[in-house]
C-alpha cells in the first residue's frame, strides 16, 4: 500500500509551476491596473471578477493539484460552492430591501 502510493504520486516539471506563478503575476498586475487606471462602473467589476476567478482557478487547478485529482473528490469540493452563490443572491435582494427601507424612513420619517 505505502509502496503503491509512492509510485502513483505525480510530480510535474518545475516549468509548469513557474508558468502559473508568472501568469498569477500578470493577472494580479492587470487587476492592479484596473485600479491604477481608475476604471469605473461595469467595466471595473467585470474585469475584477474575471481576473479574480482566473487567478483562483489557476491556483486551485495547478498549485492545489485539483486538475490531477479524481472527480470523486473534485465534485465533493466544488459543489458546496454553489451554496455560496445562492447565499449571495439572497443577500443581494435582502440588502436592496434594507437600503430601500432606510431611504424611505430617513426621508419620510417613521
Amino acid at each position: 500500500m505505502e509502496q503503491n502510493k509512492k509510485q502513483e504520486v505525480h510530480t510535474h516539471k518545475i516549468g509548469i509551476y513557474l508558468w502559473i506563478w508568472g501568469l498569477l503575476f500578470v493577472f494580479s498586475f492587470f487587476s492592479y491596473m484596473v485600479d491604477y487606471l481608475d476604471f469605473q462602473g461595469l467595466l471595473r467589476w467585470t474585469l475584477i471578477v474575471t481576473f479574480m476567478l482566473t487567478k483562483a482557478g489557476l491556483i486551485m487547478a495547478i498549485f492545489m493539484h485539483l486538475y490531477w485529482e479524481r472527480w470523486a473528490i473534485v465534485n465533493v469540493l466544488l459543489w458546496p460552492m454553489t451554496l455560496i452563490g445562492v447565499f449571495i443572491t439572497i443577500m443581494v435582494s435582502e440588502s436592496h430591501y434594507t437600503f430601500f427601507t432606510r431611504l424611505f424612513y430617513f426621508v419620510v420619517g417613521s
Binding site: I14, Y36, W45, V49, A72, I73, P80, M81, F106
Partner: protein, 235 residues
C-alpha cells in the same frame, strides 16, 4: 488492504459514480490527511464567504457613501500618491510564496530533502514579510488615518469593522501558516520524512504527503487573499 490499480479505474463522470458506488474508500489515491485538510478548507471557505457576503450586504444597504479603498490605502512615494501600492506588493509577495510552496511540494515528492526544506523556508519568509507589511498597514490606518471599528473619517462607519475583521482573520491564517512552515522546514531538513521520525505532537510517523497537505493550506491562504483583494480593495 485495497488492491486496486488506479490507472485501470474508469475516469471522469463514470469514475465519479464508480468511486462513490464502490464499497471501499471513496477518495481513491487521496491520503486521509489530505482529504481531511480539504474538508477543513471547504468549511473555512464558508467562513470567509460569510465575511465577504456580509461586507457586500453592509455596503449595499448603507445610505452613507462607502470609503474609496483606492484612496484610503494609497501610499505616498517620493511625493507621489500611488493607489494601493502596499496592497499590490503584499499580493505579489503572497503569490510568490505560493509559487515557492508548490515547488517545495514537488521537491518533497522527489525526495530532494534539502531543496524541499529550502523552498519551505522561502515560503515561510514570504509569509512573514506579508504579515509584517500587514502590521505596518494596520498601524498606519490606526495611528495616522484614525480608522476604528466603529468610525472612520472617510465614510460609512462599518468600513473599519469589516477591514479589521476580514484582514485580521486572514492575517491570523497567514501567521499560523508561517509557524507551521517553519516547523515543517525544520522537520524536512532534519530528514523526519525519510527516517520516519515521530512528530513531537502527533507522535506518528509522517512522509512527504505532509508537505502537500501543508501546501494545500498555504495555497488556500493565497486563494482567500485573491478574493479579499478583489472584493475589499478593488471593488
Amino acid at each position: 488492504m485495497s488492491q486496486f490499480d488506479i490507472s485501470k479505474l474508469p475516469q471522469g463522470g463514470k469514475g465519479f459514480m464508480h468511486d462513490w458506488g464502490s464499497d471501499q474508500r471513496a477518495f481513491k489515491g487521496v491520503p486521509w490527511g489530505k482529504a481531511m485538510m480539504w474538508i477543513f478548507l471547504v468549511s473555512d471557505t464558508f467562513i470567509f464567504s460569510c465575511f465577504l457576503i456580509s461586507l457586500m450586504t453592509a455596503r449595499a444597504s448603507t445610505t452613507v457613501p462607502w470609503p474609496y479603498a483606492s484612496e484610503v490605502f494609497a501610499l505616498t512615494v517620493f511625493g507621489v500618491e500611488v493607489p494601493l501600492l502596499l496592497i499590490a506588493i503584499m499580493t505579489f509577495v503572497l503569490i510568490t510564496s505560493s509559487g515557492t510552496m508548490a515547488i517545495a511540494v514537488k521537491f518533497g515528492y522527489e525526495k530532494r530533502r534539502k531543496l524541499c526544506a529550502l523552498f519551505l523556508l522561502f515560503t515561510a519568509l514570504g509569509g512573514l514579510a506579508f504579515v509584517g507589511m500587514q502590521a505596518f498597514e494596520w498601524s498606519k490606518l490606526i495611528f495616522h488615518e484614525g480608522i476604528r471599528p466603529w468610525s472612520n473619517p472617510f465614510g460609512a462607519a462599518q468600513f473599519g469593522s469589516f477591514f479589521f475583521m476580514i484582514t485580521g482573520f486572514h492575517g491570523t491564517h497567514v501567521s499560523i501558516g508561517v509557524i507551521f512552515l517553519f516547523i515543517f522546514a525544520r522537520k524536512t531538513f532534519r530528514g523526519d520524512f525519510d527516517t520516519g521520525r515521530k512528530g513531537f505532537f502527533t507522535s506518528m510517523k509522517s512522509n512527504y504527503e505532509a508537505i502537500e497537505i501543508m501546501g494545500l493550506y498555504w495555497h488556500f491562504v493565497d486563494l482567500v487573499w485573491v478574493f479579499i483583494f478583489a472584493f475589499f480593495y478593488l471593488w
